[in-house]
Subunit: 341 residues, 2 copies
């Protein structure tokens, strides 16, 4: 048992993260957190569950990555709306059998990301439970009033853009699940293996929320709609289209697919991973044709690439490399498969 009781756990927490930040003036431990919002700004709120056996597996994922990813997922929702992440609240129901080193690494992982992005940890709740560890991450961001990007808003003719590479995180998860890389070997293996394999592992374990990529078009009113890739490019583009009452055409030869070089993993199809892999936390956004010229090829070093076009007709269509058109289903490459223990 890592802590005698909840009180001791809270004390441990407070001693480690006495966070302070602009616009926030109350430490963890009061009844609630007080934040001020700059004049003319909207606040963006999101909450994401991270459950042992569903979103992570303690025998597969290093605790540092579990904490990091849980926060990254929530922040990715803020990024998808073109907002700047500002604050986080974390509720943690910790399994009694957890070791203190696990909790420490879990918090180090999330606190590292929070610090790097200027996100203040301003509160939360804690409990000790008998079974599995569960966390709920609340992320709060802000954006100039009226500038938040939504899923709804794409129009026929708008170009579809995506950031970074697709399928990399799914490849990393496959590598972890195949057992080629046990949890203890990730770091060592990372040194041995090819650069792409390391990138895939990192994309799965430590995805980078695309805050800069989301804020760029939001600030300049370039994008008509946006969403982040949490459940797979096809599924999430489908959601954007559904919310916008439209469809889209996607060109295979434009997709920034991850290379599948991992040894013994050649049976994995890069297109399959890229379209349905999920957990990439890249951003999909749509840009009216008249504004396309104002979008750079990369934002803060992250490539953003046009991969298709919005059209009036519902549904998604994939134009294959050989020009053949096939319906693109938002179907379930279930990245949780095998994660459910």
């Amino acid at each position: 048992m890592p802590f005698r009781d909840e009180a001791q756990f809270v004390q441990w927490l407070r001693a480690r993260w006495p966070e302070r930040a602009p616009g926030f003036d109350l430490g963890i431990g009061d009844d609630a957190a007080v934040v001020s919002v700059a004049r003319g700004h909207d606040l963006i709120l999101t909450t994401d569950l991270s459950l042992e056996g569903i979103h992570f597996r303690s025998d597969l994922h290093p605790p540092r990555a579990i904490g990091y990813r849980a926060l990254a997922r929530a922040i990715s929702d803020i990024a998808a709306m073109g907002a700047r992440p500002r604050f986080a609240l974390i509720s943690l129901a910790l399994a009694r059998h957890t070791k203190r080193a696990w909790v420490s690494a879990f918090y180090d992982g999330l606190a590292g990301l929070a610090r790097r992005l200027g996100v203040a940890l301003i509160g939360g709740d804690t409990a000790i439970v008998e079974e599995r560890t569960m966390a709920d991450f609340v992320a709060v961001g802000d954006v100039e009033r009226g500038r938040a990007l939504r899923r709804a808003g794409a129009r026929a003719g708008d170009r579809v853009y995506v950031s970074g590479r697709l399928g990399l995180a799914a490849l990393g998860l496959e590598m972890l699940k195949s057992g080629a890389l046990g949890i203890r070997n990730v770091r060592r293996a990372g040194k041995r293996t090819a650069r792409n394999e390391r990138a895939a592992l990192m994309a799965h374990l430590y995805p980078e929320p695309r805050c800069g990529v989301g804020m760029y078009p939001a600030k300049r009113r370039l994008a008509s709609a946006a969403i982040d890739v949490s459940d797979g490019f096809a599924r999430d583009l489908g959601r954007l289209c559904e919310a916008s009452s439209c469809g889209a055409v996607v060109r295979e030869n434009r997709l920034p697919l991850a290379e599948v070089t991992a040894g013994g993993k050649r049976e994995l199809d890069p297109l399959e991973l890229g379209l349905h892999g999920g957990e990439d936390y890249e951003l999909i956004f749509t840009v009216p044709r008249s504004r396309v010229a104002r979008l750079p090829a990369a934002v803060e070093g992250v490539p953003v690439r046009e991969v298709g076009e919005i059209r009036r007709k519902r549904g998604l269509t994939l134009v294959r490399a050989d020009k053949q058109e096939t319906p693109l289903e938002a179907r379930g490459y279930d990245h949780f498969e095998g994660l459910r223990a």
Copy 2:
């Protein structure tokens, strides 16, 4: 199994609560919620876990009360800071074996409270889990900038006030736990039993967050510090004093104790319940002597009563009815005892 999968659950939710509210312009289902904050206002954020087997027991508590109480607890934190509750986000990890009627009643309970207080349900997350149900409730309120009440701020000489009655919720829990009233009999029993017993049951199952009581002194700058009674009057007053670097004297004959009339429950000491019972969700606040005259005897029909005084010397002292002074320990009448299944 109440829902085929998470997607169906989310669909069910959305159809039931398409909430809209001033200052909130995005439905459940986008990446995050967008809220606007009135100029010159601060935002208050809090999050509270409600875990099966710790905060509630499915064999003891009606699902309607479980949903209601979980939201009431979070809103009580907002009330304790003198703020107006505005929004809520609810993350629910639902045990697979749960019946749909349970989920329905759970949401009816919380939605009823939310509607009555003008709190919009603006988002959340959902998952199906194998074991116990757990929920995380995020409540968001707002308050004129700089007017939020905190635990810190009480000064020697300030009067200590408390709202409503103390120990009523603990009495209600004792009645439930004793088995005198099975979960199915609460309503019927309520008609049979004495008025006080019904009040006790209601105080436990459906506590009223004291929003009006908190906002009154916050708006008028009457209070120097405040906290809500979640873990017991003595413990929570102790926390206020600790945060304010002071102590307090409390007078037994001033305490608004619950009457213990429940049949067969005469062994319960009203003072014990009132000082250590917990979960009353009444407010404790301190008022400088010079402003005491501006405080009415009741706010929106809820009595607020002076029960003691802040003093420089640390620690709490109880002045008994016979004028004897005894140290008042913030000790653990553990209201969870017997709740842990």
